[in-house]
């Protein structure tokens, strides 16, 4: 009996968690009407909304479609993730495995960056971009986010678990440090790279505040910022709206479903205090 109650409660809660998303999906496939549908199954199935949503921003200029914003988001996310993985792991590598002066200080500095709220530094960051003339550029969107103290920390922790013998053998063969990093450490650390790749890319995709202030030109806006343009639509265009929202959310959900196992381990790795 207790079991049944538990199942019912869990299912009801799962329903509440998913309903807004399911409604969004259902409405995106429904034909627009003045009367709003509360059902989770599309009444008049249509794909028209997706086509219109894709072309919607044309009201601003003929060349700008939703694709423009997708492109900006993809470029930004890709470079933040790729460059970020590289830079963070480089730092994590020497911090984990090498002895040198100031090693502890650098590590603590990396951790300190995590304690400084983004909003405390955002104004000078913006001014730096302004002086570099990097407002409305990809560099402006990407560079502040490529190094993360969290990434350095995670890579350091993981690299410390790799046995030293491999490195010593490679050193005797004349490998340089960078070559060791590249040919030995990286292939052995796929789980760490996988986890960080997912975390970084999901975070970068959803970024809102920074892209909001660094892009004033509409053709440079990322998807998240551009979505806010859909806000003013009235009720007869909710199909259009939800189609846009769905298209913006789907990529991340797909990545998540495919790479779930890395995600859970990476998420919880930093949470327990030893």
């Amino acid at each position: 009996m207790k079991k049944a109650l538990l199942y019912i409660a869990l299912t009801v809660i799962a329903f509440f968690m998913l309903t807004p998303l399911l409604w969004m999906l259902a409405t995106s496939f429904s034909r627009d009407s003045v009367v709003v549908s509360t059902s989770l199954i599309p009444k008049n199935f249509t794909l028209k909304n997706y086509i219109e949503a894709w072309n919607f921003p044309r009201v601003f200029s003929d060349e700008i479609t939703l694709g423009t914003f997708f492109k900006n988001s993809i470029i930004t996310t890709f470079f933040i993730t790729a460059l970020g993985l590289f830079i963070d792991s480089l730092a994590g590598y020497v911090l984990a495995r090498k002895r040198f002066l100031g090693r502890k200080i650098f590590f603590y500095l990396a951790l300190i960056t995590l304690m400084i709220p983004f909003y405390v530094v955002v104004v000078p960051m913006f001014l730096i971009m302004k002086n570099l003339r990097w407002i409305n550029t990809y560099q402006g969107l990407i560079t502040p986010s490529i190094a993360s103290g969290f990434g350095v920390y995670m890579f350091k922790q993981y690299f410390q678990t790799i046995p030293y013998e491999l490195e010593e053998a490679a050193k005797m063969d004349g490998y340089s440090d960078f070559r060791i990093y590249f040919s030995i450490i990286i292939p052995l650390s796929i789980p760490a790279f996988g986890t960080m790749a997912i975390l970084k890319s999901m975070w970068a995709w959803d970024e809102f505040f920074w892209p909001l202030i660094i892009t004033t030109d509409i053709k440079m806006k990322t998807l998240q910022v551009a979505l806010t343009m859909f806000r003013g639509l009235n009720v007869t265009q909710w199909g259009l709206l939800t189609a846009g929202m769905t298209m913006a959310t789907i990529p991340i959900i797909i990545i998540y479903i495919f790479l779930q196992r890395y995600f859970v381990s990476g998420l919880t790795a930093g949470s327990l205090k030893a």
Binding site: L6, A14, W23, I116, P124, Q224, L227
Partner: protein, 297 residues
């Protein structure tokens, strides 16, 4: 152990250069410059060079009614969302972790879905669901219970609540995941040992599980508090801070000052006030958490 020459050791610093260059340019330097700028009047539209005004920015802010409204709203948001998030997250984690339940992956995934969706998209969907007037989905459902349509985002009494509901809904799955990892770290023999005495499940929970979850709870409290204090996106998207300033939070206020009015000096002052508040809270939390540590060995 291979001994490295001094010359080789210099190479190590090169590995650190990219990351720490970024840290220095975009975090450490701006940290100092933010404080510096907070003592200047600097509106990048009107003024070309900053003018030193001492503590005038801080003075202005601390006397600004809107600033205090934003502080109050932020505190309401934090106090209103965190306890519920932690409570429901814990309950869900316990339920999903329980031996009885099958379909664990399905439940875990559905609870976690809101977390991975983009905040912007979810906020817009929320504003549709909670649309004021008879067209909002929630209002339609309420009308079936004979309740009149509520103003939600357009009602200055409800605007903050609307955003708080979104905040709770979105984060419960994350809290659940963290508690799950905490639960899974508890060795089962403890419960077996307790079963030797006549103890109820409730007692097991109160005197074994809960204390052993203390590190997890403290971690969540600190991180959620710091995060909730800086809430911005849902408010920007759903209510724009209004109506009036009923849903403006500290970061909304900072955004308005820095990127609508472009009064950089004042925005920096707000940022440092926020920084001081967060620092204080973190120190207090740390003191509180160090006072009792629990382990059963």
């Amino acid at each position: 152990m291979i001994v490295c020459s001094k010359k080789e050791k210099i190479n190590y610093y090169f590995f650190l250069v990219p990351a720490f260059l970024v840290f220095s340019i975009f975090i450490f330097w701006p940290l100092i410059q933010s404080l510096y700028l907070s003592f200047f009047k600097y509106n990048i539209i009107n003024i070309n060079t900053p003018q030193f005004v001492g503590l005038k920015n801080y003075n202005f802010i601390l006397h600004d009614q809107i600033f205090w409204t934003s502080i109050v709203n932020t505190v309401i948001y934090v106090l209103g969302t965190i306890p519920l998030k932690l409570l429901f997250g814990l309950l869900l984690a316990l339920a999903v972790n329980s031996k009885f339940i099958k379909f664990k992956t399905f439940y875990r995934t559905s609870f976690y879905m809101p977390v991975i969706c983009s905040m912007v998209a979810v906020s817009i969907v929320w504003s549709l669901l909670f649309n004021p007037g008879p067209n909002g989905i929630v209002n339609i459902i309420l009308s079936k219970f004979k309740i009149n349509p509520l103003g939600w985002g357009s009602d200055s009494n409800l605007s903050l609540l609307t955003v708080m509901l979104l905040g709770i809904w979105k984060e419960i799955g994350y809290v659940m995941m963290i508690y799950l990892s905490g639960l899974m770290a508890i060795p089962q023999d403890i419960y077996e040992a307790a079963s030797l005495d006549p103890v109820s499940s409730f007692q097991k929970f109160m005197y074994l599980t809960l204390p052993l979850l203390r590190p997890t709870t403290i971690f969540l409290l600190i991180t959620e508090m710091i995060g909730s204090f800086q809430v911005f996106t849902p408010i920007y998207v759903i209510t724009g801070g209004g109506p009036g300033y009923s849903s403006t939070t500290i970061i909304n206020y900072l955004y308005n000052k820095g990127f609508q009015e472009y009064s950089m000096g004042q925005a920096c002052a707000v940022a440092y006030v926020l920084f001081a508040v967060l620092l204080l809270l973190t120190i207090l939390q740390n003191k509180f958490s160090k006072s009792e540590e629990v382990s059963y060995d």
